[in-house]
Structures are given as C-alpha cells and as structure tokens.
Symmetry: D2
Subunit: 306 residues, 4 copies
Amino acid sequence: MKNSAILLVSCPDAKGEVASIADFVYRHGGNILHADEHADQESGLFLMRVEFDPKDFDIDLSAVDPTQFNPAQAVHPGSARTGLSEFAKHFDPIAEKFQMTWRLAVSSHRQRMIIFVSKYDHCLVDLLYRHQSGELACDIPLIISNHPDNQPIADFYKIPYAVVSVRKDNKRDSEARIQSLIDQHRPDFLVLARYMQILSNEFVNRYPQRIINIHHGLLPAFIGARPYHRAFERGVKLIGATSHYVTEVLDDGPIIEQDVVRVSHRDTVEDLIRKGRDLEKMVLSRAVRWHIENRILLYGNKTVVF
Amino acid sequence: MKNSAILLVSCPDAKGEVASIADFVYRHGGNILHADEHADQESGLFLMRVEFDPKDFDIDLSAVDPTQFNPAQAVHPGSARTGLSEFAKHFDPIAEKFQMTWRLAVSSHRQRMIIFVSKYDHCLVDLLYRHQSGELACDIPLIISNHPDNQPIADFYKIPYAVVSVRKDNKRDSEARIQSLIDQHRPDFLVLARYMQILSNEFVNRYPQRIINIHHGLLPAFIGARPYHRAFERGVKLIGATSHYVTEVLDDGPIIEQDVVRVSHRDTVEDLIRKGRDLEKMVLSRAVRWHIENRILLYGNKTVVF
Amino acid sequence: MKNSAILLVSCPDAKGEVASIADFVYRHGGNILHADEHADQESGLFLMRVEFDPKDFDIDLSAVDPTQFNPAQAVHPGSARTGLSEFAKHFDPIAEKFQMTWRLAVSSHRQRMIIFVSKYDHCLVDLLYRHQSGELACDIPLIISNHPDNQPIADFYKIPYAVVSVRKDNKRDSEARIQSLIDQHRPDFLVLARYMQILSNEFVNRYPQRIINIHHGLLPAFIGARPYHRAFERGVKLIGATSHYVTEVLDDGPIIEQDVVRVSHRDTVEDLIRKGRDLEKMVLSRAVRWHIENRILLYGNKTVVF
Amino acid sequence: MKNSAILLVSCPDAKGEVASIADFVYRHGGNILHADEHADQESGLFLMRVEFDPKDFDIDLSAVDPTQFNPAQAVHPGSARTGLSEFAKHFDPIAEKFQMTWRLAVSSHRQRMIIFVSKYDHCLVDLLYRHQSGELACDIPLIISNHPDNQPIADFYKIPYAVVSVRKDNKRDSEARIQSLIDQHRPDFLVLARYMQILSNEFVNRYPQRIINIHHGLLPAFIGARPYHRAFERGVKLIGATSHYVTEVLDDGPIIEQDVVRVSHRDTVEDLIRKGRDLEKMVLSRAVRWHIENRILLYGNKTVVF
C-alpha cells in the first residue's frame, strides 16, 4: 500500500475552508490523492477528509503517533498532542481561524486493534483471516475473551489470546484486568466481535469512537437480546446487522454500517442465525476497515463514512 | 392468462395431507400447475396452496363467487358459502378429517380492489399504471380519497373517484360514508396507498386480511409517524418500506413484503423521502399482486407467501 | 431547490489542482456546497466536481447558457462559448496551467430533455411522473415517437408529442425530420426510453455524452436484441438493466448505472420482462437525474458519477 | 439435524404425478416435511422434490448408498443401483408409468466432498470454516491442490491435503494422479474452490452435475480469464460471481447461484478483487450447501433450486 497522510477536520461551515486546507497541503508539498467533504446544512457543520501523498511534504510527520490511546486528545488532538507538534504548529492558524477539530493520521503507522470475543467465533475467524490476507492493515496485539474456546484459532494466526472470565460476582475485577491488558498493549481501538458481556459506562466513556460493536439486528429495530428470535416472531421479510460505535446507551451509538438479507417462511430461527452470521461478518469487517482507513467522522450521534 | 383454480388450505400438521389434496384434485380431473406447502414445525401447522387447471375438472366451479366480501366466510369459508356448495360438498370429507380451514379461488374471477389515497400520489399512480398494463389482474371499481387532488389521474385511467373528506369532527360520518361506498361497490379487498387517515378498529375488524397498507419504514423499526425523519435522525444506513395487512394495532399486522435502499450522509431527509417513494411503490405493488394471485396465507401474525 | 453553480473539470493529475480550484471559487466569493474529486492512478487523470453557492460570487454567471446544444463546445466549452466569456476570462489562467477541460453549469438553468419512445411505455410514464412530481428538475419540450400510441399520456402531462414514423425505406428522411425537431426545440440532451430504432452513427456522433439509453440487460452480457429471452435460456439467477451514453458501437457506450433483480425457475420469460420493467425505470431515471444534476464525468469509455 | 429422505423426480408433465408420489410416500408411512414441484410449461417437464420423515417408513432405506460415485447411475439411478433395490422395487411401477428419472437420498448419509484449490485460499478457508461450524453437513475426505501453500489451514481443520503439481508437460499424469485419489476417496462430488487448472473433457464428462465451480464474473459476462480486470476496463457498476456445474464448455455449465456487489470509480482493480472474494465465498458456499441438501435439479442447461 502507498504511504499516505490523512487529515480529518470538522468545524462550523464557513467560506474558504476547502481552499484553506487544500492550499495548506499544496504549499507544504503534499499531493492530494483523495478529498471528500460534507457540509451538513441542518447542523451547519463542515466535515472534510483529505488524503495526501507525504513524499515531498516539508513538515516532519515522523513524530505522529496515533498509538497513544488518549481519547481526550483524540477529540481535540491538535495542540495537546506533543507528537503532532510540528504539524500542529503549522496547521494551528487555520484550525483556530475556522474553529476546527482535527486529527492527522499516517498510513505508515499501523493501528493496533484488540478483539473481544465470547464463544461465537464467526466474526473473530473472519477478522483474523482478513487481517492475515492483508485486507485489514492493522496490528492485532491481543484477543480478549471470557472463554478459552477460541484459543486454537488465535494460535493458528499467532495472535496472543487472554482469557478474562466474567461472572456476576467479579465484574469489577474482570474489567480491571481488561483495563490492565489494554494499558499494557496500547491499542488504538477495540472491536467487540460478538462479545456477550456488557462493559461499564465508565469503561465505555474512556474510549469514545474507539469501540466498534456488531449488533445482530437492523437497529433501531430489535435492540437488546435475541434479535433473530424476535425477528422470527414478528415475521419480518428481511433481517439485518448493524455495526456501531459503543456508547453508554445500549445499541444506541453512531451507526457505521448496516446490511440485510432476505428471509422467508421457509427459514427457521436457525436459518436466520446462519444467514445472520454472514451479515455480521461482512458488516463488522467493513466497519473495521473504514475505521482503520480513517474514513469515519462523527457528527452528533451519526457517522459520515468518506 | 391461463385459467386456473387455487385451493388454499391451513390445518394442524398430519400425515397424508398432501396426498389427500393432490389425490382429490387428480380424481376430479384437475391438472396441478403449481403446488406449494409449508409445515411450520414450531406451531405444528400445515399450509398448502394448490393451483390447478380446471379445464377437465368434473366439479362445477361456476358458482364460486369470491366477490362477496364476507370476512367471516373468508376465514372459514368452507361450508358457509353457498356459492361454493358443489365444491364444498365434495371437499368437505377431507376438510373435516384434517380440520382444514380452506378457501377456493378461480382466476377467471377478477378480484375487486378499492384504493384509498390522500395527497401523496406515487403509490396510486403506480398501481393504476400496473393495473392498466395488465400487471395487476383485478378490477378497480373505485378510488376513495379525503382530498380531491388525485381526481385527474383517476380520470385519465377512467376509474371512479370519490372524495370523502375527513375532519376531526366528522370521523364517524366519514367512515359511514366510506362503508356505504364499500357496500355499494363490493370490493374483495382494500388498499391503503398512503392513506393518511386512521380507520376505526370496528371498521378494520370487519375486513381481516383484506386491507393492505404500505408503511414507509422497515417495521418494526419506526412505527408511527414521520419514519423517514426519524431514520434520518438516527443516522441509519438503510431505509425501508413494509407492506402489511391492517389490524387493530398500528403498524403491527402481518408483514407481506419489505425492501430497503442504501442511504448515506449525502442524503437529506428529502432524498430519503424520494428514495422511499420508489421503495413504497415496489413493495406495495408486490403485496397487491401476491394478494390478487391468492399467494398469501396467514398463520399467527405472520404470512406465508407461496 | 437552492441555486447553485457546478464546475466540472478533467485534466492530467498534478499537484495543486484542488487548491487552485477551491481558491478560485473562494477568492470570487463562492461558498463550496459539495466538492468531489477523483484521481485515476492508472490513467493519470484528475476529475473534479465543485458545487458552490453563487449568491455572492463576483463573476457574472447570467450569460451561462447551457441550452445551446453544441457538442464541440460541450467538450471544450471554455474559450469557445461566448456565453461563458466572463467566467472563462477569469478561469482560463488556471485551466491553461493545468490543461483542464472544463464545463460550468448553473442550476437555475433548467436543462431541456427530449424523450424518444416506441410502443413500450413504462419508462416514458415513469419519467413523466417523476418530472411532474419535481424529481427531475428539467424541461421536456418534446416527446418523439415512431408510433402514435403514447400520445394520451403525453397529453395528460401536457408535453408535445411528435410522431416520426420509421420504415426501412424512409430511415434517412425520418432522421432528417428528427434532426429538424431537435434544431427547433434545442434540447440539452436526449433520452431513449425504450426507443426501438437504431440511430445513425452520423446522428449519434453529433451528441457525444448527450444521448442516454436504457438497455434491458446487464451489459456487457446480452448485448443486442431480446436480452430477457436470452437470459431466460441461459438460466441466469439475476437479470439486470444498464443505462449508458450512446456511442457508435451498439450497447458499448460508457455505463452510467446498472441494477439487478433476482429470478428463479418459477419466473417465465414474461415474469423476467415484468421484473425488468421496474429495473429499467429505476436505472434510467437515476441516470437521467444524475445527468441533469451534472454529476457525470467521462474518462475513456467509463463514467465517474459524483 | 432431523433425519429425512429426499426423493428427486423429473419426467414429462402429466396429470396425477403429485398425487401418485404423495400417495406413495403416505401409503408407506412417510410424513412429508417439504414438497416442491415445478412444471416447466415450455419444455413440458415436471420436476419434484419431496422430503419426508422416514421414521415410520415401511421400506428399508438402509441400503441407500449415495457415496457410490457412478454418474451413469446418478442420472438414471432407479433400477441400476442395487443399493436402492428395496425402494426401487416399490417405486418402479410409478416411475415407469410416468417415465420418471429419479434419485433418492437420505440425510443420514453424509456426502463426501473433495475440494480442489490453487493458491487463492479465501473460498477454501470459507468452506472449511462452514464445514467445521456445522453449516455444511458433509464429510471432506481430501483437499487436492497444485500448490503446497494451503497445507497449514488444512492441517488446522485436520483435513488431508494432497499436492498434485500440474505443469504443461505433465497434465496427463497429473490428472491420472487426481483420478487415483478420487477412486481411493470415493467422493460424491467435487468443488473447484478457485482451482486454476483446466480439467480435461474426459475427466469432466465422468462427473456430470458432480463438479461445482466458482467463476469470478457474472456469467455469461466475462467468460474466461481475468474477469475483474475486464469488468474494471468496461466500467461496470456491479460485479458478480457465479457458481455452476462444470461441463465441457468453459464457464457454460448450468448456473446454480449468482450474486453481485456495487462498485464505483473509487474502486481499483484491487478493490474489485477484494469485494469479489466475499461474493465468491457466499455464492460458492450457497451452491455447495444446496447440492448437499439435494435441492438442485437439472433440466436442459439450467437448474431448479428447490
């Protein structure tokens, strides 16, 4: 893959923003590979993603270090992140003029993803295969599970696998153990690949727009448990899956991707579950890839996928 | 279109049902064109649709008169409908043995459909065009609307158009007027083609599995008003439409057909409404065609579409 | 709809193009509403579409007159079109520096579309309805047909309808008559809505990227006649439709849009034709809308739809 | 999974066929679980699939041995297969009366599938995972490859893996070696999971309706090599994959399943290949599952999938 730098910007809509950003990249020797922008008329918000070739870029990007998992900095990473100081020093005048929240990523840095899984293995197996085949350009320092069952596939792909059992009476301890593993492996983001445990609000709030979940229903329909059973009972003609960022409210976070498949009276609940597995794999893997490629911007409780 | 007779059966699952029905048709000289059956393991229900060529059938079917809009007979039409007496006389031994609820339709009889519409005209225009082009093999004795706006397109297709205005203070009178129009035009079923008025439970209960509605959301998501606006606010990546039979509970009747279309951050609410119009037309017209072709059987609150 | 100006650009890929264009719009007081660009790595081509609010734009755009159907100017409209002189005068330095081919459109100008149709009326009826309902923001000065059959629907929508019969022995005369109607009604583009006559190469070459056709097959499969029959014979599980710009080579022009629908052994050729009608309507109407909104750019024999 | 017996029948269309088959199953104590039939009006062909519960069936089915890979018997398996003699003895009068070609399968017998693969591993990995998770109720006695690369994943799933290298100068020997492996492992059918070698006509003809291939194009478009590259060059808006039975003519056998995915100008050839991998996995695995479930009947060069 070609080396590239990606600048993500969101700010109040105003004249001259595209010009200022494009001119900045050009003045410093960058060649724009892709540029996407969206002006949300209702909210008056401007969002932009610029991917440029940094080969001749005259600002040193080597210190850019997105492996630091600091969500406070992630939201307003500009001035705060010392690693970005060179770029930030140059870009700050524009950022301040337009009240921009921005983030810079370089593709040469491979993001670090920790996968959470329980017993259902289809999403895990799918992510590991895509990772190995080069579809997901990230590193996987660790898999965390509340069951030992999926150790063999982790071993096959040579990914460390930690079992953190969760019982009603040890939830607090389990999460502390998980937190310690995260602190140790410094992931950029977490993926819940059919992880069947609820994470505390405290934990979730520590990683805004950093935890990707797959829900086996077409949200906002069938929030919560046993969505395929409930879809079967309602007699729907399509079932769906939804990948979203996790927030405090169950299944309510910003939706990244959704897809559906047709079902009929010939399909039992087991058929729905089987068809759903393919949906879940596809939908989750797309969301993960877009996240890795820094394509997703939030506004309100919604996503823009550039 | 070829002439055909369609026998619809539902009963508790038991051995010998397919054989008994197929043998009955064969013994009386009918040639089976299509046969579909479904045994629902969970509920222990058996459902079957047999379409046969009645050319050499030795039971007189000429008295079969499904234009009678008698819902009580529609549900258990067997012995009650005098028009079916010849067929019923012969089929009743089988029906009694297996506790069958059944219905017979002949394609030579064109069903009568009354369309209800308000101001939004896309579903109406679509149904009228499909009707005229031969896609919907039914008669349309009347269009009923609470607004005069769609009179011109009704005139173009030479379909009578009755305006029954509905205000808060005349709901009861309006429904009486509608009832009188129905009694006069004797439809087999009613289609709510984006009709924006709520019909009373009393009215709805008079026509079980006889009123087809189109809802502009992917039920059970976005029940009720303004589904596209709520889909937009939730940031979904797919919007849908649902056609269902109307029951007492709002947007809760048996689902006949659903479909979706992809949307993105580039789509405004207006774009959702525009894309949704195409969905609604497609989904409603399929449901209407299947109803006309006697393909839909109910079990519980679900449909089988053979 | 909001007033907007759309600048379409294609040129060899080079540094600074996005910046130059964005800066140009900004310097002259335009507010960018949408910007899309694509750099085709293989061909080294850069394509861009910028939509901006011209309210405070300080260059007079009132003379922009895209109703002139001059294909030579359409391809390199810059300096040649006197109507664009004010804008061109200012933009030419940038255009020359980057060897840009460009075109400017203003949404306040409604494009003029002539529809060609034969006997099959589904695409015509669909386009006329969408036009009347405001989905297609264009004018329709004329419908041309080789049959009188569709006069009534044209009358209903109050669109002039000219019958130009085509027989083997009068092809040249017919085309001359068509040319004369075009010269008289000055359309911006032509739509072949299941027009069953072949237009001469001479005619086609006069309107590059100005004639939109709908083919009832998923090109490049089933080029030529009776695609549904051939799809049926081959036993495909999906049928498709393709909208493309017309070129000299049959069904070989740049593809604008395609879509498919699932078929099975239960579908006869007549069912394929019926299902195909919905496909054709959807696919053609999308292509026409995108053309009207100036979203389509050509490169080689392919399209970019921004 | 429930035990079941499946009777597949094809014959000239005639009155009384459904009744005769259903009555036969009933008389012998079988309970029909699913029945599907199709009368192809054009060819005058009748096709039927009856799945019944053999628990109380009074004909001994234990000798039914579909593992014998004898294609001549597969086509007219009735009287020829000694293993079927008990059933055949009873069913032959009906079969002869209606000139039926028929086949009986029992779900208790797990079919044996040999997978052929080259270097691309996505379809192999997918099939092995689905097999292990219980989605594909068959045995896999062997994987055959012309490269050693995929040995590790075969080892992980504990499936024997044979490397049969194929060079220009040893094609005949390679095929003899493959034939010997087949004779030894007695598969019911073969799956070409992106196997990049051409099998001889002689070999192919030995296994009619027994070799399933996946082609990475939407047949009949893009027959032959490099379909994604050619799709990219043509500028299509949808790419597809096709699973079909292999016949003598390249990519011309009866189509079992097809599916598509949307592409745009933003997709490079590499993106098409990536998106195509998911298509290929889905389409091939569906075809394999239907084959295993004895759902596929041939007529002419087409399939019915019940």
